[in-house]
């Protein structure tokens, strides 16, 4: 018994340490590639693309389910994105509120007999609307079928060779599309998807649908998420992108070559992680077909999204995410350590599975086993403590390093904000992390009674970030 406790405690500790070290390695890798991207974004005058044939037209596709509160502002804000040719396609996913009426009123929409292609099978389309205003907007009213299904309808309706999927409650930075499309323009034959840099809107000052100034949000739970987003989007994805190993192009800003989505079969409906699922299917599609391709990430394509402010909403979100990951782990188990799937198969997907997916179980196990092992004297408490502290330090180094990389954006430079960020790097280990670990474990053992859309309380963009 003692040996079992000793060995398993050690395994848990080593696992945890390995996890932290891996994250640190990714961060260092990202640091190596971020500099060049920044230089080009700053001095490359990529906005010149706006007058050039290099910028293929893009369809912005949005799934809207009960978005009445913010849909009009969201679409207005999207219509102001700088890009030479784009259209917006909104799929109203059988909303039970007045989302559709709001759109019809605000943009003077009228029904048209529009032939929607069925490249991807979807729930039935009720009616297509076009705007009489000078805005390239199409609204497709359809039967409820879930977010993925709604996006598929929008993609079916989209007319341009590239589609950018986004949410109805985000603020897209004016230049995000140019930055993302630069990557496409520079390697049009190979780049099939580009993900954007998603940042919490909480704490930011918003005027006229633009973020004027980012800010550190008020509550610890929001600050913790801010740190998570920085670690993921600034410190991890640039490295994965550089080795074509992105396992996930986040749904809040995901640009795809339309044909790639259609070839991969579109978004899965009723999937809680439809973005991971599609990204992995695209990888698999191109790997199996042996067609050279790239899935990339643009640190300069910024999108602001409201993150949950309460524990209850965050809990629902995390359970939903983890369920999505569970389904993906099941569906793509053949990718794990699959050399034919390249760096995704060998590095990033195993990381997702062994660290993101399994981690909560191991971590929880650690919280149970190690104290017992210490109590019965199976392990040297001092040694365990030291190892644990080392792991915590490595984790904190990663966070601090990530924040250092985040300096390129020049956000949060007020001394008070600096202090708040430094504090959260340490404080997250005292309960916040453990909270999400617990939720993810709950997600794994509870049934699937939740609806696919997992109601996130949406309140409209302007109400979240106090107007400046």
């Amino acid at each position: 018994m003692h040996t079992f406790l000793a060995v398993s405690s050690l395994v848990v500790l080593v696992y945890y340490l390995a996890y932290q070290v891996t994250m640190l390695v990714f961060t260092v890798g990202s640091a190596a590639v971020l500099g060049k991207e920044r230089m080009i974004a700053r001095y490359g005058r990529i906005e010149d693309m706006l007058t050039s044939d290099l910028a293929p037209p893009v369809s912005i596709v949005v799934a809207a389910y009960n978005e009445s509160a913010g849909i009009v502002e969201a679409i207005t804000s999207m219509s102001m994105v700088s890009y030479p040719r784009f259209e917006i396609v909104v799929a109203n996913d059988g909303s039970t509120d007045d989302t559709l009426d709001r759109l019809i009123d605000a943009f003077d929409m009228f029904p048209v007999p529009y032939p929607v292609r069925t490249n991807i099978d979807t729930a039935p389309v009720r009616q297509v609307y076009k705007s009489r205003k000078p805005i390239a907007l199409t609204v497709v009213d359809k039967e409820n079928g879930g977010k993925g299904d709604a996006l598929n309808v929008a993609i079916n309706t989209a007319r341009y060779p590239y589609v950018m999927a986004t949410d109805a409650d985000v603020i897209i930075d004016g230049k995000a599309l140019v930055h993302a499309m630069r990557l496409v323009a520079e390697d049009r034959d190979r780049v099939v998807a580009v993900g954007g840099n998603i940042r919490p809107l909480n704490g930011a000052t918003v005027t006229h649908g633009h973020v004027v100034e980012a800010g550190v949000p008020k509550s610890l739970i929001e600050r913790y998420q801010l740190l998570e987003y920085v670690r993921a989007f600034v410190a991890t994805r640039p490295f994965w992108s550089a080795i074509n190993a992105l396992p996930l192009v986040s749904g809040a800003f995901s640009l795809y070559k339309r044909d790639a989505v259609v070839d991969a079969g579109g978004f899965a409906s009723g999937h809680m992680g439809e973005d991971i699922d599609l990204t992995m299917r695209i990888h698999r599609h191109y790997r199996n077909a042996k067609i050279p391709y790239k899935i990339m990430y643009s640190p300069s394509a910024i999108v602001w999204t409201e993150v949950p402010t309460t524990r209850a909403v965050l809990r629902r979100q995390r359970i939903r995410w983890h369920r999505g990951l569970m389904t993906a782990v099941r569906d793509f188990r053949s990718s794990i350590f699959n050399p034919r799937h390249g760096a995704v198969g060998m590095l990033s997907w195993p990381t997702m599975v062994f660290f993101e997916f399994v981690a909560p179980v191991v971590e929880l196990l650690g919280y149970v086993l190690i104290p017992i092992a210490m109590l019965v004297g199976a392990v040297d408490p001092m040694q365990v403590l030291v190892l644990f502290v080392i792991a915590l330090f490595v984790g904190t180094i990663t966070s601090l390093f990530a924040l250092l990389l985040d300096e390129r954006y020049g956000y949060f430079n007020d001394p008070r904000e600096t202090l708040q960020l430094l504090t959260i790097c340490f404080v997250e280990n005292l309960g916040l992390r453990q909270m999400t670990v617990w939720w993810r474990v709950r997600a794994m053992h509870r049934g699937r009674q939740d609806k696919a859309w997992g109601n996130m309380e949406r309140r409209g963009v302007r109400t979240i970030a106090k107007a400046g």
Binding site: P134, L400, L404
Partner: protein, 359 residues
């Protein structure tokens, strides 16, 4: 306890502590630097603005100014805003302070990539013909972004002699760079037309011409929109390479005259849909209402873009809108869709709320 573990602990703790300090210091510095930059930018903007509005160059300019990238940005701001006498004034300011030479020095190869790129991107805005030779050496820089900027600079100063060399380089680089290069040359305007035509003619006579760059040159000629390019574009439209026909068809929209109408009437029945899609737009831009029925035939084309462009071309022609409204009522769904889309875009369908006008 194991000494290694303890030393690892010490190292990680030390690293953590030093990163905390580094982050705090960097953030403080960054804030101060940003504040200082804001102050300096405002100062430069008003200083240059004063000089410009009075038309007086400083008798003894401050040396620090010429070295400061923020000053370059402020000067460039004004230079890009004004034309004529005012622009010449800004140029003389740049000359007097020797800014061009400083930027040329910073763009030398021994400097790091980001310094070179920043310098050359400012030089593009501030360059005068005096910097032609320096810019010419930069089009051979190892960095593609530096090369693109150098081409933009040469286009700005109107160095027509460099055109053929630039296009030769374009045949050897990645497609995006070639496209940006060609786009940059547009700024040279009508002066570029002769050398580009000569280059295209020479390239076409080769056994293995660069298909892409000839197509890009066709597009470039179209964007400049000079009628001298018309014969060569018509020749490209008749070639057996689809890419050339596509480029020529879209270029003729801007550079075509009556001479192109007949070749375009043939091109709207091309096998390649991209040629049909471009040719119909060009035809719409120059043809008279006689062509309405010919263009309307393409409303039932197999390709979405061809239908859309045909409908778009009709909105440009007198009487075309009526033809589209007829298509809207017609039996062909696809034609109706294209008609509807283009009528919406052109505003022909929207209710016109007349605005009060000044009497």
């Amino acid at each position: 306890m194991d000494a290694t573990i303890v030393s690892i602990l010490a190292v990680t703790a030390g690293l953590t502590a030093s990163l905390v300090v580094v982050l705090a210091v960097v953030k403080l510095f960054h804030r101060e630097i940003e504040r200082y930059r804001g102050v300096r930018t405002a100062y430069y903007t008003s200083a240059v603005g004063e000089m410009l509005s009075r038309g007086v160059l400083p008798s003894r300019p401050r040396q620090g100014w010429a070295e400061d990238p923020l000053f370059h940005d402020a000067v460039a701001d004004y230079r890009l805003m004004v034309t004529g006498e005012d622009r010449r004034f800004v140029d003389s300011l740049v000359d007097k302070l020797g800014i061009g030479d400083i930027l040329v020095t910073r763009a030398r190869r021994r400097f790091p990539r980001s310094t070179r790129l920043r310098a050359v991107s400012s030089l593009v805005d501030l360059a005068t013909p005096a910097h032609t030779a320096a810019l010419q050496t930069m089009i051979d820089d190892p960095n593609p972004h530096v090369r693109v900027h150098a081409v933009r600079g040469l286009a700005r100063v109107g160095d027509t002699g460099a055109v053929s060399h630039i296009l030769d380089i374009a045949t050897r680089v990645k497609p995006w760079e070639a496209a940006r290069t060609a786009d940059a040359l547009v700024e040279m305007g009508a002066d570029a037309v002769e050398p580009v035509i000569n280059w295209v003619e020479h390239e076409r006579s080769k056994a293995f011409p660069s298909v892409d760059v000839v197509a890009l040159s066709g597009r470039l000629l179209g964007l400049i929109g000079d009628e001298r390019a018309e014969p060569v574009l018509i020749a490209l439209l008749g070639s057996d390479r689809p890419d050339w026909r596509v480029a020529a068809a879209s270029a003729l929209e801007h550079a075509g005259t009556d001479m192109s109408v007949e070749p375009l009437r043939v091109a709207i029945h091309d096998d390649d849909w991209r040629v049909r899609a471009r040719a119909v737009v060009a035809l719409g831009a120059m043809a008279d209402d006689v062509a309405i029925e010919e263009i309307a035939q393409l409303l039932t084309d197999r390709q979405w873009w061809v239908r859309q462009n045909a409908a778009g071309a009709l909105t440009q022609l007198p009487g075309g809108t009526d033809r589209l409204k007829a298509a809207l009522e017609g039996s062909d769904h696809f034609a109706a869709d294209a008609a509807l889309n283009q009528l919406t875009i052109s505003g022909a369908l929207s209710e016109r709320r007349p605005l009060p006008s000044r009497t």
